[in-house]
Homo-oligomer: 241 residues x 2
Amino acid sequence: MNTATAAAAPQQAPPPAPRPGLRERKKQRTRDALLRAALELFTARGYEQTTVDDIARAVGVSQRTFFRYFPGKEEVAFAMQDMVEAHFMTSLRARPAHEPPLEALRRAVLDCWDSVREAVASIAPLELYLRMFRTIESTPVLLATHLRRSMEKEEHIAAVLAEREGLDVDADPRPRLVVAAFSGVLRVTGRLWSTGEDLTLDGLRSLTVRYLDQVGPALAGTWRTPNDPNRTDAPAEHTDA
Amino acid sequence: MNTATAAAAPQQAPPPAPRPGLRERKKQRTRDALLRAALELFTARGYEQTTVDDIARAVGVSQRTFFRYFPGKEEVAFAMQDMVEAHFMTSLRARPAHEPPLEALRRAVLDCWDSVREAVASIAPLELYLRMFRTIESTPVLLATHLRRSMEKEEHIAAVLAEREGLDVDADPRPRLVVAAFSGVLRVTGRLWSTGEDLTLDGLRSLTVRYLDQVGPALAGTWRTPNDPNRTDAPAEHTDA
DNA sequence: AGGCTAATGTCAGTCGCTGACATTAGACAA
DNA sequence: TTGTCTAATGTCAGCGACTGACATTAGCCT
């Protein structure tokens, strides 16, 4: 049955897919039910306050069955992140080769967020995804895992960038460095957004654009310029594709 | 007794410290013994393969007592990191005010590593610290926690930088952005170092210097310049204080 | 209809961690 | 020195995440 693979790469018909079969449909339903129940409970009552037994009971299934569908409690919490991240990698690979690395990264995230709603809709409404994101950011153990996952993803992104430019990731520091800086910005904006009051996707989007524009100036030798128009709360127009 | 505080800020005589007293000395000895035993076991046999009972048994104490000295198994693993990080913050605050932010950060880490041996020696030999660092990097759950801790530290660093420059951290993105980029570089070099074969402090040091020098070029629009002399394995001279 | 086997349930056990309560052993005064 | 007084420790029971072993149920296929 291979639950691990199913958790890592959600819903997709494997090679032998002539007909779902009653059995397969049932399995899929159980998985979806578990996932949805878990997200609902996590975002409502809190991750730590939710027991695996709670999730299983909400679906009418034994605890042991839960663990046959998901390798652990954490994995359910990141199921949607998995989808979005896969979606981002697709966006990145779709960027034209002539774009400079940092520019390609920037456009890839923005593109990705533009189509996140559809990407996620098969599992749950966008609102649940956003709520779960906040829950992750505010739950220490989830935040920790999230950061490690991001770090692992950075390796993949660096590899893609290196290939775009025809470089060897292990010989040239630059791929890993841009990615580190770039995802550092995303981390900062993600955190600010999740602790702020504007919890819309557009809010996150414009905040990210503004911060990306400031990376250069921030790394510049000195900060003596007053740098007026970068208040955190300002709406600010965003320029992109 | 307050074990949590003791774990966060190791060995220091609290205000009422006219004489250690036999009791206090014994407590300190137990704490040190637990810490050393834990680090030894973690680095030798692996974090997950080490049971809290193992640690307690190695010291001749009950499991319950272990948890009275440390809030959890993880905290022991990061006890030395705590010291080094505190040490770094001191180095950073000691940087002259005229240095540009990024420059101050750079010098602070290098200074910090120069005196790490003495800072850590009170607990364990430097070699154990380095081995524990590798263990952290190679143990998923520890790596995750390490990243979250780093992120929390970033907030402090950003606050210090903002104060140096007389800025408001919440109004100006730049403090958080430099810090994010900077610690991104440290993360990358730390990871490369821990998976490489040169496990000396100097190895980490020179690698870091080389990578820090590349952040600017990496963020630059295009990477078309061949950029020959940045092979990962090269020794390379380092220019600093 | 009946056999095959995947899916599920049940049970016991490990490990990290906590609260409650009993026991021991420094500290301090008489 | 002795006798409290209490901090430090040990013991025990229990929770929650997880796992292996084994029994049971229920789709599937002939």
